[in-house]
Subunit: 223 residues, 2 copies
DNA sequence: TTTTTATGAAAAATCGATTATTATTGGAAT
DNA sequence: ATTCCAATAATAATCGATTTTTCATAAAAA
């Protein structure tokens, strides 16, 4: 048996990291906002030390800006950065998908089908947004999982978080949503058929369409 | 005038982050070693809080492994990971170089020439290794600097740190060193002449030759 | 009016001590 | 001998308080 020594009891710092990460991605803080440590401490009912450790991790991860002697700020949203993030996603996830298609085994195929199935189910029902978001992230993670590169995976996750910060803040566009949902299933089809190029092109298209939605979060943003 | 509010007075935590980052890259800690926080505290004469904040940042950055309730460890060296890092460097720096060559202006050209010049000078003299390393990092950073992507730049820096952890630990190979030194100058030539493809190919070759040296650090490593 | 300088308040960073968790050791039981 | 368990030591994580630095305000000087 495989006893997971890894998933040992969590710490307050790790817990705060995860919570804040989610809250940042979900736009619970205003872009550009100064982080009031004592307010967070109050709000999350957590000690100063674990909170600061979490903030330090988030800054190193790119979800916060840290300035010496003047604490932490939420990064601003800028169209330029969204363009950057989007381009990088297309490039990196394209790379990863190619490798995933060439490495992926039967186990991957079944997990991919399962992930897509779950995504379809959640779409139909009127689940909470947070549930759909979780399933959606899981789908995209599964899609590129067998790319064989720890670092590529890591960067993709990081960019995904950055991208979602924009997207989740933007107003939804139902017509685009329908297309995006269909694309998930088409991606599975192409992946299973090992149609590498077509899959890559569709993934790029998928990301670019999401980008159009995400752009909606930059309205009234100055740079 | 441009008064740098950015480089404000540093904090103990930031200072420790930089110091430990260098020490980790320079192999001052054994791969796989458990980090004794109290020992570090003693050795660097620093308080517990700033030290822990630095360690948290380093873990998020990928230079340390953090496990809940059991502290920090130095990542092991593995040939597989070195392969991964190397592939990713070739891909990402190749991308960046293409964009740098298309974006880079006269200012970039002069900085690149200057960086190469400095590198040549340091080679000739018998400067400290640390001096050469700093100039070398600066050269590679300059080469891809105008790629126009914050995120690409960030990932490249991160991978460079990871790669150097292997390379600096490996025994030097003088013949390869000569070739690598020459390649730096050839890279400048090709960049100035805007020979994108050739420059990319040479950069890949350069990284792959460095890889052969870096491999020397994996001898006797189990996975 | 504008700039400068002092001053008090707010917030960030750090320290020293405490608590909680893990690792270790030395028997007892099988 | 090997496994199990308690007792203890070691270390990680956290807390509460202190120090340091920045920010905001207003008086003084130009």
């Amino acid at each position: 048996m495989d006893m997971k020594h890894t998933s040992s009891s969590t710490t307050a710092a790790s817990c705060m990291f995860e919570t804040l990460r989610q809250d940042l991605i979900n736009g619970r803080f205003a872009a550009g906002e100064k982080i009031s440590i004592s307010a967070l401490k109050e709000h999350y009912q957590v000690g100063l030390s674990p909170l600061r450790e979490a903030l330090n991790r988030l800054a190193a991860y790119g979800l916060l800006i840290q300035e010496n002697q003047r604490g932490f700020r939420v990064p601003k949203l800028s169209r330029n950065e969204l363009d950057d993030i989007t381009d990088m996603r297309c490039k990196l996830e394209g790379m990863a998908l190619e490798r995933a298609i060439s490495n992926g085994d039967a186990e991957w195929e079944s997990q991919l089908v399962a992930a897509a199935y779950r995504l379809n189910r959640v779409e139909h029902g009127q689940m909470e947004t947070s549930e759909w978001e979780a399933v959606h992230v899981h789908f995209h993670r599964t899609l590129v999982a067998p790319c064989g590169s720890e670092w590529l995976t890591r960067f993709i996750e990081q960019l995904h978080d950055q991208f979602d910060r924009y997207r989740r803040l933007a107003p939804p566009i139902p017509e685009s949503r329908t297309i995006l949902d269909a694309q998930h299933n088409e991606l599975v089809e192409l992946a299973l058929q090992r149609k590498t190029i077509e899959a890559q092109e569709l993934l790029t298209e998928h990301i670019r369409l999401s980008y159009k939605i995400a752009l909606g979060s930059c309205r009234g943003q100055h740079d």
